[in-house]
């Protein structure tokens, strides 16, 4: 039942309103009237086109086990690992948590890779073939999947990346306020 309304449901999460609100035209969601008539804006980066994948090229990289394996290889070949380690971060932010500064849908990650980002993420658009960028995006998205995390043994994560499920395209992710840290874990216990 619900699956037919998947997009609407996610939009409602995003707008922080209830489940029971009318479906809407996807093209017109840059500003959105909520149930009490207030105009909500698209605060989540890249979400102006709604919650579902808007780039048709992204589709084939979901549910694609080869893509994530290929992405893993490219991740070290292009020195992504130098800044992001095995997903745990270093010079660049960690990618294996559920915090996304610039969005976690494959076309958002792809866009991050193509354009670069202001705080020190290089632009790769004219350096890496597009198909490889998509594979990299899939691998990056896979790092924080529960299946990938579950497959981690020891302290070298992201070695067995699970394919990215299509539902992942509808997760808005979460990111902490800039400059704050320690948000990777729900609960940290003090020293015993």
């Amino acid at each position: 039942m619900c699956s037919g309304y998947r997009i609407e449901l996610l939009m409602s999460v995003w707008l922080l309103t209830g489940c029971h609100h009318a479906s809407h035209d996807q093209a017109a969601v840059t500003t959105e009237r909520t149930s009490n008539g207030v105009i909500a804006s698209a605060l989540v980066p890249g979400m102006i086109h709604g919650a579902s994948s808007s780039d048709p090229r992204a589709a084939q990289y979901y549910e694609n086990p080869q893509a994530v394996v290929e992405g893993k290889r490219l991740f070290s070949q292009y020195n992504c690992s130098g800044c992001h380690s095995n997903g745990g971060g270093g010079m660049g932010p960690d990618l294996m948590d559920n915090q996304w500064i610039y969005g976690d849908r494959l076309e958002q990650i792809h866009q991050t890779l193509v354009e670069g980002r202001p705080n020190g993420m290089p632009a790769w658009g004219d350096k890496i073939p597009d198909a490889q960028l998509w594979a990299l995006a899939a691998y990056v998205r896979s790092m924080s999947l529960p299946q990938t995390i579950a497959a981690n043994t020891g302290d070298t994560p992201s070695q067995t990346p699970a394919p990215v499920p299509r539902e992942a395209a509808q997760d808005t992710g979460w990111s902490p306020p800039p400059g704050t840290t320690n948000d990777y874990t729900d609960v940290i216990k003090g020293p015993q």
Binding site: G90, P122, P146, I149, P157, T185
Partner: protein, 625 residues
């Protein structure tokens, strides 16, 4: 139904609840490292009766109560002769004021005190604050915001730190992460000049504290993990104009090696060794950055500075001695021409940068007073070097060492332990010291009263595997998978009072976390340092006994100082704000589940978030009166 659906969706991306920090690995067994007696060497037996160890007047003039450069004086003793605060009354030491730096990143700078004004530079975005010490609460005189390019954060290997500025001739001179050296008018906070020296697009940043001496400003680059080519530049203090730049690799004309170059050891003699000790072209991206301490010797009119590791870390991609990396240069300040060079770690394969501080002392050796520099290196040895000639007089381990078996004092060469060589496709276990060294950048102090050097350091080892790496400009050029672990005993840090004459520790204070702060020694007989879990401490300079501690808002990795306030009394100041390479797990956007994160440091620091949070605050302490 709807709720169920939402729940599933949220779970798809969220971190499982069980994913708390990894546990810290178990320590390397004590039997894995060599004893000091078995690998420490000296050219002669100690002769303590031959004289008193102290810096010369020229390099450490009588204390005027100010603190105008991070190292306090040219000798780099970080010794304050002030005696108000003593073992008898230090228990009464309390904070007088604190000041938020508005930057929650690793704060490594020394506060600077000149003309009753305190100057502080923060981690990126490198704010500079000038505080008026003559007024209650030390109100702000001015704040300068240099606005470094944000992208510089992405090419800073190990947090976005800054190691401080200096005041000289009415100017506060400091560097920015994006590669500028800036001189501010101390009264107005307005820039007198700005010189762009480093290029972030090549992976170059600047994190070091410039040294200002005799009208020249010395600045070097960071970026050894990004395939940059290291250099030291000298600028005119009045105009900011570049006087000379000496590269650490490449042909002699770029390295400023000419007829005046007289290295002590045969291995450093020859033409264009900075090219021939590398595979073709590899010197162009071979590292050898200059991000540590530059020292000026007013007696011998010489500049000394350490050169960092060769790149990439994967040593199999760069056979050869890789000159002039992981060593020390002595240069003529006016021309930049090299006088001598000594390579602490030829063909480094463990990231042992040679950039730590050098203390300029006059010290008894073999029955005579010798002009030496003392340098505790990342590779684990305290070197005592004749600073006229570059000859090593003694080299003794002060931390856990098994990557080498001592220094051959005939050839000057470090004797490698093949068991700890690093390889492609094979992990070498339990290498000591770790990549960040038995000691990293955090500077020691020296007290002429005790004759001890107070070395803040680490007790950490590592597992290492080489990886194939491609050079892509502006990206890391490392090629190694590193996982760190505690050294023998399990404590990750230590404060060692080193007796350079008798070549042994006088006492050692163990700390749970690596000590990443500097130390300051005082005429009152105290040594101050901070811990990564947020304690600022005073110990007895003679015995190491802990006499006082105060818990600040975040871990301490800064350089404490001691100064005389406008009221004539002694004050102690330090910055809190954990971070740096060792503190990345708190200050950086990293995940403790990845032991290789932050170049392998996370593995051994995953519990730090239990103890401290990010911060950034100036603290000033006093005895209430």
């Amino acid at each position: 139904m709807c709720r169920e659906r939402i729940l599933t969706l949220l779970l798809v991306g969220s971190v499982p609840l069980a994913a708390t920090a990894q546990t810290v690995p178990s320590p390397v067994p004590a039997a894995e490292v060599f004893t000091r007696e078995s690998i420490g060497h000296a050219l002669a037996a100690p002769t303590p009766q031959a004289g008193h160890t102290a810096p010369s007047q020229a390099n450490a003039p009588p204390d005027d109560g100010q603190w105008t450069m991070p190292s306090k004086n040219y000798a780099s003793t970080r010794f304050s002769s002030l005696q108000d605060i003593s073992p008898q009354n230090v228990a009464q030491l309390t904070p007088l004021l604190s000041f938020s730096l508005a930057v929650n990143k690793g704060q490594e700078a020394a506060p600077i005190v000149a003309d009753n004004t305190m100057f502080v530079v923060t981690a990126y975005p490198n704010y500079v604050y000038a505080l008026d010490l003559t007024r209650p609460g030390a109100p702000l005189k001015w704040r300068f915001s240099p606005k470094p390019v944000p992208a510089s954060q992405g090419v800073a290997c190990c947090d976005v730190v800054n190691r401080g500025g200096s005041v000289d001739h009415g100017k506060y001179i400091f560097n920015t992460l994006d590669g500028q050296t800036i001189a501010l008018d101390v009264n107005t906070g307005l820039p007198l000049w700005r010189t762009q020296l480093a290029n972030i697009n090549l992976g170059e940043t600047i994190t070091m504290a410039p040294l200002v001496a005799q009208g020249r400003v010395y600045v070097g680059d960071s970026g050894g993990e990004l395939g940059v080519r290291g250099w030291l530049a000298a600028l005119d203090e009045e105009t900011g104009k570049l006087l000379w730049r000496a590269y650490s690799t490449g042909p002699d004309r770029d390295v400023l090696i000419g007829p005046g170059f007289k290295p002590f050891y045969a291995a450093d003699r020859g033409t264009d060794l900075g090219v021939s000790s590398w595979p073709p072209q590899a010197w162009k991206i071979g590292g050898g950055t200059v991000w540590g301490w530059v020292t000026y010797d007013a007696e011998l009119d010489t500049v000394y500075y350490g050169v960092a590791n060769p790149g990439p870390w994967n040593q199999e991609q760069r056979p050869g001695d890789n000159k002039w990396t992981a060593g020390i240069f002595a240069r003529d300040p006016a021309s930049g021409q090299a006088r001598w060079f000594y390579q602490y770690t030829p063909h480094d394969e463990h990231d042992y940068d040679g950039v730590n501080e050098q203390l300029l002392l006059d010290m008894p050796f073999a029955g005579q007073m010798r002009k030496v520099l003392v340098h505790p290196d990342r590779n684990g040895y305290v070197y005592v070097i004749d600073r006229r000639s570059g000859q090593v007089l003694s080299a003794d381990p002060f931390g856990p060492v098994n990557s080498s078996r001592g220094v051959d004092l005939q050839t000057g060469r470090l004797i490698l332990n093949d068991d700890k060589a690093t390889r492609l496709g094979r992990t070498t276990h339990d290498i000591c010291p770790t990549a960040s060294g038995a000691k990293d950048w955090e500077p020691s102090s020296f007290s002429p009263d005790t004759g001890f050097i107070y070395i803040p350091h680490e007790n950490i080892c590592m597992d290492w595997q080489n990886l194939e790496v491609n050079y892509i400009a502006g990206t890391p050029y490392v090629g190694a998978d590193v996982h760190m672990k505690p050294g023998p005993g399990g404590h990750r840090g230590a404060l060692t009072a080193w007796d350079p004459v008798n070549r042994r520790p006088a006492w050692v204070v163990k700390e749970n976390f690596p000590i990443w702060s500097g130390t300051v020694a005082t005429g009152g007989g105290l040594v101050f340092y901070g811990t990564m879990d947020g304690w600022f401490k005073a110990v007895d300079a003679g015995t190491g006994k802990e006499l006082w501690k105060y818990k600040v808002d975040s871990g301490v990795i800064g350089q404490p100082i001691s100064y005389r306030g406008p009221d004539g009394h002694q004050y102690i100041a330090v910055l809190s704000g954990v971070g740096g390479w060792a503190g990345a797990v708190v200050a950086g956007p990293v995940d403790p589940r990845d032991g290789s994160a932050a170049l392998g440091f996370i593995n051994v620091m995953s519990d730090l978030p239990k103890y401290t949070t990010a911060g950034g605050t100036l603290y000033v302490f006093w005895l209430p009166h």
